[in-house]
């Protein structure tokens, strides 16, 4: 069973990030608003740490042809899905087409996609069978193969209202990205989150030393018991 639940929103999400061909006046307030909208669009993909992807997407240069193609892909994806409420009802041909659109949109957005299991094993989406305790991860990488973000598809749900929301966000986010690009400066994320900055490595070292101590202390009495048994 293929995780089409993951594929569809991602195509929509990638499309959301594409700059619109609509020209807007880039005032300071509109830039700030655009940054908020872009951040919201990324968070809607359920990515925990969006800062690298945010910075990347506002920094890459997309051509108008790429933008146009991404938009067409999203429209095509809607046609492929039709009125299907459950993606597993799709035929194999429909699934292959959806996957092609997904990969194509990612490449047009200058992103590489790696689908892996939580143990790091690569996954072919066409042959993937969902495993409850080993969910699929979609890793988004830049053109150099550096990891930007990881999407956890199990969060997604392809209900009609969800899809409609994604499609609705396409126009909003596309306008946002276009506005940010017009600013000619780096536009920071409006609501960044404090990173997790603890390794707990010293604690683990202490635990290891504790095990050595406990094992050493256990040895003598257990040796005596064993000796008596002899």
């Amino acid at each position: 069973m293929i995780r089409w639940k993951a594929v569809l929103p991602l195509v929509a999400g990638i499309t959301m990030l594409a700059p619109s061909t609509v020209t807007l006046a880039a005032s300071s307030s509109s830039i700030q608003q655009a940054a908020v909208q872009l951040e919201d669009a990324l968070r809607s993909l359920q990515i925990q740490h969006v800062s690298l992807l945010f910075a990347y997407l506002e920094s890459i240069q997309l051509s108008s042809q790429e933008v146009s193609q991404i938009t067409q892909n999203a429209a095509q994806m809607q046609k492929v899905m039709g009125n299907v409420s459950n993606p597993n009802q799709l035929t194999l041909a429909q699934k292959e087409e959806a996957l092609r659109l997904f990969i194509s949109s990612a490449e047009l957005a200058h992103l590489q996609v790696a689908t892996v299991l939580t143990n790091g094993q690569p996954v072919n989406l066409l042959t993937y069978v969902a495993q409850p305790n080993n969910p699929l991860l979609i890793e988004l990488e830049d053109e150099q193969g550096k990891l930007l973000a990881t999407i956890h598809p199990q969060y997604y749900d392809v209900q009609p209202q969800h899809l409609n929301q994604f499609i609705h966000n396409v126009a909003i986010a596309a306008t946002s990205a276009r506005t940010i690009e017009q600013s000619h400066t780096f536009v920071p994320m409006p609501r960044g989150q404090l990173p997790v900055t603890a390794t707990n490595t010293p604690l683990k070292i202490v635990i290891g030393l504790g095990l050595i101590l406990v094992g050493s202390l256990m040895f003598r009495p257990l040796y005596r018991v064993a000796h008596k048994l002899e």
Partner: protein, 224 residues
């Protein structure tokens, strides 16, 4: 008790402490090596330096004309008063923070204006951050030259505080780490150090470095 059963029991009794000690050695060596890599051996870690000429990114004026790749070395942070000297890399994800102090990618870089955010692990690169005092000097040694800041405030906030990693009109540097510095598990708070700029490299260095593909002109500019 039959002889073989007694022997088996003996092996079992002696095996327990041996297994516990072996597990302890394994855990200690694994995490000890990781800890050494993130502290004592950090300066020896091979990092890819920032190069401003990356095809595909839009060009920005001034320092850092193109976006650094995740994990790229941006420079070195120095806080002499508390003996902090660590590389600064692009990004603040778990893996990247093992390479040094991380620059929060959603914040501007030094010299771009606004609130620059650097984060470091409380138990490796930023352990000594807890001893920083208002007035201490913080230097970010970049490919363009040194950006010097002065600590203006120190505070402790909840980890979900939404008012720390936010844009600001005035240039400033925010250093963050987990708090308490000694804590079992993931700390509930964050230690926040704010600093304001004192000086930054000459604009002439920017143009010279930007023209250089490998960024080697910095030394020429400094010596000149």
């Amino acid at each position: 008790m039959v002889r073989w059963a007694r022997k088996l029991l003996m092996i079992g009794l002696l095996g327990i402490p041996i297994v516990v000690v072996a597990a302890g050695v394994g855990v200690t060596v694994t995490f000890g090596w990781s800890f050494l890599q993130q502290t004592v051996l950090l300066a020896d870690t091979a990092l890819v330096p920032y190069k401003p000429t990356h095809i595909g990114y839009r060009k920005l004026p001034g320092y850092w004309p193109t976006l650094p790749e995740p994990g790229t070395k941006l420079g070195t942070i120095l806080i002499p008063a508390v003996h902090i000297n660590a590389p600064v890399v692009q990004g603040t994800t778990w893996n990247i923070l093992a390479l040094g102090v991380g620059h929060y990618a959603g914040s501007p870089l030094p010299g771009q204006g606004g609130n620059v955010v650097f984060s470091g692990h409380r138990d490796t690169v930023f352990t000594n951050l807890q001893y920083v005092k208002v007035g201490d000097s913080v230097t970010f040694d970049s490919p363009y030259g040194p950006f010097v800041y002065r600590v203006t405030s120190i505070k402790i906030v909840p980890k979900t505080d939404p008012n720390i990693v936010v844009p600001s009109q005035n240039p400033e540097l925010t250093l963050t780490s987990c708090y308490p510095f000694v804590y079992i598990g993931f700390a509930p708070d964050r230690f926040i150090v704010r600093a304001t700029p004192v000086s930054e490299p000459s604009p002439s260095v920017v143009s010279q470095y930007s023209r250089s593909k490998r960024g080697k002109t910095r030394h020429v500019a400094e010596s000149g």
